[in-house]
C-alpha cells in the first residue's frame, strides 16, 4: 500500500513537471490559432473560437522566411560541423597527447567556461569589426567554431576509453589520425551526438549575437526574423506564434529522434546542458 502511494506520488510530480514544461509550447500553439483580439483578451483563453490556420499562411507572407530559414540552416550546420571538428581534435590532444604546458592550458580553458557568454559579446564584436567581418556570414559563424564546453565534454569521454584500445590500434597499424576517426570517434558516438544536438539547438535558437552583428535582411536568421511581427504599432502575437511554431519544429523533431543518445551522452559525462 505504502509503495503504491509512493509510485502514484512520483507520477503526479512527473506529470506536473511535464505540464509546466509544456505550458509555453501549448500557449504558443494556442495563440497561433487565435484572432488578433483574442490574443490579448483578459482573462486569457486557451481554446480559440475559430481555429485560424490562416495565421500560418499570413505569417510566412509577412517576411522572407525562406531566406531566413536558409540562413539558419547554413549558419547552424557550419558552426556545428566546424565546432565539432575543432573540439574533437582539441579533446584528443588533451586526452592522449603529451605536450608542453598541456595542464596549464587546460586549466586556463576551463577558466573561460566560468565567464558568462554575455560578457564576450562586446570584445567579440570589437574583434570582428576590426577584421571587417561585421555584417557577414563570417560574423555569424567564426566566433562559434570553437567551444571549450564541447572540448571538455569530449575529453571526458575520450579519457574513459582504456589505454589498451589505443595500444591495440597502434599495433593494428593505425596512426593517431586513424585511431581518432576510426576508433575513438565511433566509440564516443553517444557523447558526440549529445554535444552536436546541444550545439544545433543553441545555434538555431541564437538571437542576441546574430541581432548584434548583422543589420541587413539578407543575413537574418529565423529567430531574428521573428522581429518582423513587432512594429511601433505593437506586436501581432498570433502571427508571431505561428512563425515561432515553424521555427521550433525542426528542433523538436531532432530531439525526439535523438533523445536516447542525448540523454545517454549527457548523463555519461556528468554535465548538464
Amino acid at each position: 500500500m505504502k509503495r503504491k502511494t509512493a509510485i502514484i506520488l512520483r507520477y503526479v510530480i512527473l506529470i506536473l513537471g511535464a505540464i509546466i514544461m509544456l505550458m509555453p509550447f501549448l500557449w504558443m500553439i494556442s495563440t497561433s490559432l487565435k484572432t488578433q483580439p483574442e490574443t490579448v483578451k483578459i482573462p486569457p483563453i486557451w481554446i480559440p473560437k475559430h481555429l485560424m490556420f490562416s495565421n500560418y499562411v499570413d505569417a510566412l507572407k509577412e517576411a522572407p522566411f525562406f531566406r531566413y530559414f536558409i540562413n539558419s540552416v547554413v549558419v547552424t550546420s557550419l558552426t556545428t560541423v566546424g565546432q565539432l571538428f575543432t573540439s574533437i581534435l582539441a579533446a584528443f590532444a588533451f586526452s592522449r597527447l603529451n605536450f608542453y604546458g598541456k595542464n596549464i592550458l587546460f586549466v586556463i580553458f576551463l577558466g573561460t567556461m566560468m565567464v558568462p557568454g554575455e560578457m564576450l559579446i562586446i570584445p567579440n564584436f570589437v574583434t570582428l569589426s576590426q577584421l571587417h567581418l561585421v555584417n557577414t556570414y563570417g560574423a555569424l559563424i567564426i566566433p562559434w567554431l570553437a567551444s571549450f564546453f564541447t572540448v571538455f565534454t569530449l575529453r571526458q569521454t575520450f579519457q574513459s576509453v582504456p589505454d589498451q584500445i589505443y595500444y591495440a590500434a597502434k599495433i593494428d597499424g593505425a596512426s593517431d589520425w586513424h585511431y581518432l576517426w576510426h576508433v575513438l570517434v565511433p566509440i564516443s558516438k553517444s557523447t558526440i551526438t549529445a554535444v552536436t544536438v546541444l550545439q544545433v539547438i543553441g545555434s538555431w535558437n541564437a538571437f542576441m549575437w546574430p541581432l548584434i552583428v548583422t543589420n541587413t535582411e539578407n543575413l537574418r536568421t529565423l529567430p531574428v526574423g521573428l522581429q518582423a511581427f513587432t512594429s511601433d504599432a505593437g506586436t501581432n502575437y498570433a502571427l508571431l506564434m505561428a512563425a515561432s511554431t515553424f521555427v521550433i519544429i525542426p528542433m523538436v523533431v531532432l530531439y525526439v529522434f535523438l533523445q536516447k543518445y542525448i540523454i545517454a551522452g549527457i548523463s555519461k559525462t556528468g554535465l548538464k546542458g
Partner: protein, 352 residues
C-alpha cells in the same frame, strides 16, 4: 622472426629501474613463455618488443635489424592484450578486418582473409556479434584472429588466458599451440601460471624483479634450476627448502665439505624423498615423523616433521598412520644445494 635484446633496461619514471640489463635471443619459429610473479616486468618486456614502449637503454633487434628506434607502427607485430582490447563499436568480422583496413587491403580480400582467420580460431559463427555479447573465450579468439590478420612475423600474447575458467584455459592453450604450429609464427606468451608455461612453450624465460633468472626448456628449469628462485617457482608441490644448519649433518661424508661450507640452503623436491631404499640413487637416510597424510585420487601428500622442520613428500607407497616414525631415503635427483646468492652449486645433471 628472431628477437634479440642487448643489454635492455627500462625505467618508467627515470629513477626506479623496472628491468635490468636484459639479454636474450628468441629463436625464429618458436613459442617462448615469459613466466614470473605479478609485477616482475612481463608486460613491460612485451610492450618493449611491440614498440609501444621505448627502452631506457640497450638495443632490440628483429633478425639482424636494429628496431630500437622504431615505434609500434613500424614494427608490425601482432599482439593480444591482457584484456583483449577489442573495438567495442565493431562486430567480430570488422574487428578482425581492422588491421587489414589500416593496411589498405581491398575490401573483398580483407573479408576473405578475415573469414579464413575466423575459421582458424573457430569463431566463424559469431561474425555479426559485437565483442560485448561474446564470452571471454570467444573474445580471446577474436583477439588472436585480429593479431594474426596482418600475418605478423611475431605474435605477442599478454596473459591471454587469465580471464578464463580452468577448463577453457586448458582448451585454449592447446588451441594457441595448434595455431602457432600451423602458422609457424614466432610467439611470445606471457603468463604467471607455471602450468600454462610448461605445457605450451618450447622455451621458458623466468623473470623476477626485472631480471632473467633462467631461460631454457621446461625440463631444464625443473631438473636444473639455476637458482633458488627458479627451484621454488617451478614445480607443484613446491620444493622443500631447509637451511643448511638444519640438514648439514645428514650430508656429511656424502658431499664435499668445501661445498657444504659454501651452502646456504638445501632444496629437496617432494619426489626426492622415497619411503624405500633405492640403492645407488640414495644419498642419505633421514628419520621423520608423520604429521599428516592425505590421499585424493592419484595424489598422495605426506607432511613430515624433521627435527622441527616441515618436509613434504609425494612418494609414500605403504600405508602410514599419523604420528608414526618414518625413515626416508633422500634421492640424488631432485636434491640441490644453493649458496648465499641463491645460485645452485650442487645437484642436477652435473652431479647425476
Amino acid at each position: 622472426m628472431e628477437v634479440t635484446f642487448k643489454d635492455v633496461s627500462l625505467s618508467y619514471d627515470g629513477s626506479r629501474e623496472i628491468l635490468h640489463h636484459l639479454n636474450f635471443t628468441i629463436p625464429e619459429g618458436t613459442l617462448v613463455s615469459i613466466l614470473g610473479p605479478s609485477g616482475c616486468g612481463k608486460s613491460t618486456t612485451l610492450m618493449m618488443i611491440s614498440g609501444l614502449l621505448a627502452p631506457t637503454s640497450g638495443q632490440i633487434f628483429f633478425g639482424d635489424e636494429d628496431v630500437t628506434k622504431q615505434d609500434a607502427l613500424q614494427r608490425k607485430v601482432g599482439m593480444v592484450f591482457q584484456n583483449y582490447a577489442l573495438y567495442p563499436h565493431l562486430n567480430v568480422l570488422d574487428n578482425i578486418m581492422f588491421p587489414l583496413k589500416m593496411a589498405k587491403v581491398p575490401k573483398p580480400e580483407r573479408k576473405k582473409k578475415a573469414i579464413e582467420l575466423a575459421k582458424l580460431v573457430h569463431i566463424e559463427d559469431q561474425l555479426d556479434k559485437k565483442p560485448g555479447s561474446l564470452s571471454g573465450g570467444q573474445q580471446q579468439r577474436v583477439a588472436i584472429a585480429r593479431a594474426l590478420a596482418k600475418e605478423p612475423s611475431l605474435l605477442l600474447l599478454d596473459e591471454p588466458l587469465s580471464n578464463l575458467d580452468a577448463r577453457l584455459r586448458i582448451e585454449m592453450r592447446q588451441e594457441i599451440r595448434r595455431i602457432q604450429q600451423e602458422t609457424g609464427v614466432t610467439t611470445i606468451f606471457v603468463t604467471h601460471d607455471q602450468d600454462e608455461a610448461l605445457h605450451i612453450s618450447d622455451h621458458i624465460m623466468v623473470l623476477n624483479s626485472g631480471q632473467i633468472q633462467q631461460f631454457s626448456s621446461a625440463e631444464t628449469l625443473y631438473d636444473n634450476p639455476s637458482n633458488l628462485f627458479v627451484a621454488q617457482f617451478i614445480g607443484e608441490p613446491v620444493i622443500n627448502t631447509l637451511d643448511i644448519a638444519d640438514f648439514g649433518d645428514e650430508l656429511k661424508g656424502q658431499i664435499d665439505t668445501e661445498l657444504l661450507k659454501r651452502t646456504q640452503k638445501v632444496g629437496i623436491r617432494p619426489e626426492a624423498l622415497q619411503d624405500h631404499d633405492t640403492g645407488a640413487e640414495t644419498l642419505a637416510t633421514i628419520t621423520t615423523k608423520v604429521k599428516t597424510f592425505e590421499k585424493f585420487g592419484r595424489e598422495k601428500n605426506a607432511l613430515l616433521d624433521f627435527n622441527g622442520k616441515r618436509l613434504l613428500t609425494t612418494e609414500i607407497e605403504a600405508e602410514i598412520a599419523e604420528g608414526q616414525e618414518l625413515p626416508l631415503y633422500l634421492q640424488k635427483s631432485g636434491f640441490y644445494l644453493f649458496d648465499q646468492d641463491g645460485t645452485r652449486i650442487f645437484g642436477g645433471d652435473q652431479d647425476a
